[in-house]
Amino acid sequence: MNVANGEISREIGDVNLAYMLLAQKLVKQDRVAAMFRLGISSELADMLAGMSLAQILKLAASNFLLCSFRLNEHASMSAVVGEGKDTTLQQAHMAILMSARTLQMQKNTVPA
């Protein structure tokens, strides 16, 4: 039980680290494009760009996954996955939903 838990924590840590490093690389390459791909705000993008490796390692070593599902509604998810759609169309559908999704999140957070 404990061994299995340790294993899971390590795997989560690995995913977190890979995710954070990739995210930072994207932001450093092209800030706006990275915001688009990752679905993050400009503040978060700037913060990511400025993080040191030590900070990233510390944040990554967690029991919680840092990245989350972005198709976070059942309706959208099943629309994309459903009915044996071919890969190209599925990707296209995803691209359309994703770009609007980040915008919707921005819209919700901006006036607050």
């Binding site: 629309a79 759609k85 691209a95 915008l103």
Partner: protein, 198 residues
Amino acid sequence: MTRKTVLGEVREVQLAIELIGLGARLQFLEAEVGLSRERLIRLYKEIKGVSPPKGLLPFSTDWYMTWLANIHSSMFYNIYQFMKIHSDEEKVWILIKSYKLYLQQIAAQDSEPILDFTRAYTMVRFFDSDMLQLSTCSRCAGQFVAHAHDHKSGYVCVLCRPPSRAGKARGAKRGAVAGIAGDGMVFGVEPALEGGLH
């Protein structure tokens, strides 16, 4: 009126090179780049090896409504809208950047771009002049390119409700696309499309 500086001119040339590389038409270059027509034509010939194509720009919104074109248009416009809100660059660079992201997206999907640069630019203008709008699909909540003033309620997108013949035969579909879009308009565009037609 901006003063002519050497650096300013270099920037204009860079912009022109970028745009020609993406397949921009001469009319668009003349509108967006502060270089003389002669210089633009010369640049175009040097980069492409051929004279710029003649003929009018596409002016029908119907093209964007056909099945595959609508998918690609919606993909591009969603990207463009994101860039417009979050990027502080000039409008023409936002257009370039979004179009490149669209091309990357298509490359990642292993398919061919259906929306050429001229169509993309024309679409942005259609949106600006309130001839097109984004409608939200009632099933997947995605935003899709639609005619302006179409009633929005109960709208279902082309991906959630594909037409019965969609995607069956590429060649046949392209023919159909041209059949609708070519209605009463000059069609001097897209080598890719023309390749599919003849």
